[in-house]
Amino acid sequence: MNRRRAVLQVVGGNKIYGGVHAIEGIDFDLFPGEVHALAGENGAGKSTLCKAIAGAIRLTSGDILVDGKRVDFEQPRDALAAGICMVYQETSLVPTMTVAQNIELGNEKLLTRFRTLNIRAQQLLQSLNFQVDPTTPVALLGTAKKQMVEIARAIHNNARIIIFDEPTASLTPEEIVHFFRLVRNLRTRGVAIIYISHALEESLQIANRITVLRDGRSVITAPASTLSRDALVQHMIGRPIVQAICGRNSKGASPRRKKVLTVENVTMGMVVKNMSFSVYAGEVVGIAGLIGSGRTEIARIIFGVLKRNLVNGGIIRLRGRPIRYRVPRQAIDDGIAYITEDRKADGFFETMTVDDNVYIGKLATKRGFTHLLSHARRSKLANYWIERLKINALQRKARIIELSGGNQQKVALAKSLVQDPSIVIFDEPTRGVDVGTIPHINEEIRRLAEQGKAVVVISSYLPEILAVSDRILVARAGQIVAEFNAEEATQDKILYAAVH
């Protein structure tokens, strides 16, 4: 491969944000027909590097070379003209337009006939072997198909370099298989691909070479075949990791344990249908399942964010007492905590410090409310949780949005746990969390169960579910379809139940 000329090179790339190096002295190259994966913790500089390549930001210093020639992109449009296209996590398609219109977007002639447009789009989609109807509005497509449209658009724009940022984050296992086939297809067409993913297994599987970034520097670039997951993680965090799994409660069902939460035939619209399960004190129940299987929704129904059907909506019991909350506040007063899956959207207050976030959690409870603020109480609470969750306390005065993903998640946790719940529901507790931090969060989950709390963990990441749960439920199409003990559960069994 090295005999061919690199289609893209970054030489000594630097980007400084407010005095801090987001990336520092990065050298990176990419050959035609190659998949080059970027690995690294959140904040390691993967996104910054890709944004610079795609023209969304400009490097503070250093050069980007395309086909050996120095380029200076002022905006994404310039990069696109050079054949570089970035497929973002959140798709950048216009939902109300059809597939064909979206593919053509930005290249429209003054007058366009929809018929010609549709025919051209159809030809393109067929040549890529995509099963998408060009006349459907994009809003009606699933995530996987939207991604296909994005790729088709990239090809339509003569992209020779495509950057994928977390492309598989919201795909089902089957869609991922299809997506990989597609990436290989692009590779044979001579397209060069930069691939960012948190799932290291995927990078190892699909990439020719992998570059690991740490703290904005490039640590290693090596062929994927010479690397293993452990080696990658070691390079990412700069030291060998402590094994995440902390002795699971393998005693199994203790006869004296108390049933805390019962969900009986709960139904909400088309999303949750007749879902039933129970949670006992002192255990961790993992709920696995694909996106859209109703896992998040049932958590939100229990917590009072969503409302189950009034008629035939089923019953939720808390220690035998039927409950139906209008607002989360009531759930919190009853000792339920819910840590959301998308912390940026609704998990923390971004303009505030760690201390303020934790303190607000306490103030919002019935017993924690005081009319006047107390700085002493705020520091005391924050100190306790910073120590317990090992939050990086160097940045206590910083606004939480400037912290790493792992620290943000820990603060979101602290903000809920400070309310002293007896039932804790985690929704994707380690999504977007750096590898070094995941053990801390898993430890906390186990610790809560050992303290006698009932813990529910919703996660798409099966190794995590297997590591922390005493009992594993599998959700599919709004129902619980399988239940496994910790001992008998395997990834294959869970996946099989989740899909079939």
Partner: protein
């Protein structure tokens, strides 16, 4: 939004010379203007003129304290002027018909608070955007008042010195409106920075969904905020009557509400919510007051004044943009 700027008042004013916040920039510009006008304009740097400058922006400032609160909570209240004009128009009509000034003031207070409750209840429980709700209630209030009491200008009774004192009186040579503005701003600052409910207001403005999920009682909070806006509208009306000796329903139809929003936004209370504080309102007010006062001395006509106001607002936004370049990681829609 850049780091270290727009700190909540609880964090105090932290000066970071490398990355000044919008309120600090506006403060510096104001000081620069004050110095420039003092040197160039005859009669600007006299004690009387400076007191007059402050007096002239006091009503705007009192209204701005209320608007600042609601904008920090990611809301807005376009009916503030209507509440002020309507509650006091009715009170003055009652006074003309023989009601005691004290009782009439309480009636006005009742009306203003009721309007706040109605606004808040619709925003909180019907879940309609505050912008549209208060725009609509503003129209409705205007119509209702003119229907019940068809008088565009109502004069205050001459024999009620207590009623006029807050607007017309002086203590130690300083006009009362300045004290009222300072009092309102300080009390609101203490409310926002020292009480839990104040913290909840910032939390709601920062991320309403997260606040809801954390157990903050959002709906009562919204009602409280709108009631406080009503209270401040009432206070501003009291000062207005003392200053002008009358109340005009016509101001409801004017551009005054935009001036209020202008002083709030210029000082650094972002429309995205959760940012800025009462200091922002004060700085914004003094800047606008300085400009208007200098224009009056220079005898610039009101069209030109309007143009310059527009330019100042634009300049504030552009300056902020230059000093704090948007970072695609943290930028949000509606960010100033």
């Amino acid at each position: 939004m850049p780091p270290d700027s727009r700190l909540a008042p609880a964090n105090g004013l932290r000066f970071n010379l490398a990355r000044p916040s919008q309120e600090q920039i506006v403060l510096l510009i104001t000081i620069a203007l004050l110095i420039a006008f003092s040197l160039t304009l005859k009669g600007f740097a006299t004690l009387n003129n400076l007191l007059d400058l402050l007096r002239s922006i006091s009503i705007l400032g009192i209204l701005g304290v209320g608007m600042g609160l609601i904008v920090i909570s990611r809301g807005i209240d376009l009916s503030e002027i209507a509440i002020m004009a309507a509650s006091w128009s009715i009170a003055l009509i009652e006074m003309q018909q023989g009601m005691l000034a004290g009782w009439a003031s309480i009636v006005a207070l009742g009306l203003a608070l009721t309007a706040g409750v109605v606004n808040g209840a619709i925003v909180a429980f019907v879940e309609v955007p505050a912008l549209l709700v208060t725009l609509a209630t503003g129209f409705a209030i205007y119509g209702l008042v003119l229907w019940f009491a068809p008088a565009y200008v109502v004069y205050a009774p001459k024999d009620a010195p207590a009623l006029l004192f807050l607007g017309a009186g002086r203590v130690a040579g300083v006009p009362m409106p300045i004290f009222v503005f300072a009092f309102c701003a300080i009390v609101m600052h203490l409310f926002l920075s020292r009480t839990s409910i104040g913290r909840f207001v910032y939390a709601q403005g920062d991320n309403p969904e997260a606040a809801h999920l954390s157990g903050v009682a959002i709906r009562p909070l919204i009602v409280i905020e709108h009631v406080l806006v009503g209270l401040l509208a009432w206070t501003a009306g009291l000062v207005w009557i003392g200053t002008t000796g009358s109340m005009q329903m016509a101001i409801t139809q004017g551009t005054m509400i935009f001036d209020v929003i202008l002083v709030v936004v210029i000082g650094g209370i972002s429309l995205v919510g959760g940012r800025g504080g009462m200091f922002s309102v004060m700085v914004g007010c003094v800047l606008i007051g300085t400009l208007l006062n200098a224009f009056t001395i220079m005898d610039i006509n009101s069209e030109v004044q309007s143009i310059i106001k527009g330019i100042v607002l634009l300049a504030a936004i552009v300056l902020d943009n230059r000093l704090h370049p948007r970072d695609e990681e943290t930028a949000r829609q509606g960010d100033l």
